[in-house]
Symmetry: C2
Subunit: 217 residues, 2 copies
């Protein structure tokens, strides 16, 4: 049976970077094999889900042995295109943007923030976390080879900046503003809203009594 | 048929705060009714999903009319316990923590950051976004009546702080550190890892060709 990548459920796809990171850690520690139970404890995903996720990629493990770390690592590296770095631009160097710039994305990842943009003159020209900060007016001149933008601007300017990013040919936007942005069908947006995440946790606390091994979402 | 809240899929539950916010906005604008198509465009969730989500709560809409905004608003306010505020503590006032403190959670929400904790002496005693910053050493003395903690500390101390939060009786943790933390089954953890979110977007860009209306996850 041929592997059809489009058949992987999106929920599974979202867990791949997490699996990759921990398998990479195990490999650095010199571990040769790992059981789905150990993996489950490390990544906080129940082992049935891990086995189901892995099954989409074919038979990666053996009963009573577990998974070969080296094999898993090379598999995930290939699947996640770890040998190809995606260039990222950060828009908006406020507190959240600065947190992103200090976050060491390149350590276990295939993404690199190449450039940041900011409207306030006192930040332009500086470097944060090794990333140069340029003026937002020069956005279109500087993102020719950049595929992804992280949006950490005030809500009031989110759509305007988005329109400029789309016009400049960006493929994907990680939207951290509370604003819901509108893009053409050719651009992918993932939205992470801090208030919604907090409210969702509170809702789950009130309405979903915890059961064994079910306390992580 | 009686409403059994435990039957609501978790994916639906996660969208409730989002629906609530936009219905609240519509209400403020004086809108009396809204179609699932309009709602879909506002919240960027496809209208079939919205109709399915709403169906778990009974027949909230009428064909050809749409949904009554006032009814939806009172329904969601009740469902999300908007009249009861959950007290939140923020642990770690770095860039990400500061972003949280400046974020106006109380505007449309039922959560309020009451207190923040920090290890570095020069921040202790100050206020950010109206929230007092206390020393991490006093954690146990200050979170008696607090249900939820937002964790924005360095990875290296995440588990140690988590153990103290658990010991002090916290019910839920929103973990923004890259560390996967271990808690007893009685505590709920939601984990948002910035690097994983970025990597997931890149993976989706490469492997999930966009189709109409499918560009938001």
């Amino acid at each position: 049976m041929e592997l059809d990548k489009h058949k992987i459920p999106q929920a599974t796809a979202k867990r791949l970077p997490l699996y990759y990171r921990f398998i990479n850690n195990l490999h650095s520690q010199g571990k040769l094999r790992v059981s789905s139970k150990e993996l489950s404890e490390a990544v906080k995903v129940d082992s049935a889900t891990i086995r189901r996720d892995f099954s989409y990629f074919g038979a990666l493990g053996k009963k009573g042995y577990g998974y070969n770390v080296e094999y898993l690592l090379s598999f995930f590296r290939k699947t996640l295109d770890q040998d190809e770095t995606t260039k990222v631009a950060l828009i908006g160097v406020g507190n959240l943007g600065t947190a992103f710039l200090h976050y060491n994305f390149t350590k276990n990842n295939n993404t690199k923030i190449e450039v940041a943009f900011e409207a306030s003159e006192d930040k332009v020209g500086q470097e944060v976390g090794g990333v140069p900060i340029k003026h937002i007016d020069s956005l279109e001149d500087e993102i020719d080879d950049i595929a992804v933008a992280i949006l950490t601007v005030p809500s009031s300017v989110a759509q305007g900046i988005t329109d400029r990013l789309v016009e400049a040919g960006i493929s994907g936007i990680l939207n951290f503003t509370p604003a819901r942005i509108t893009v053409p069908d050719t651009v992918r947006v993932h939205h992470i809203d801090l208030a919604v995440e907090l409210q969702a946790l509170v809702y789950f606390l009130k309405h979903y009594p915890l059961e064994n091994g079910d306390n992580e979402a």
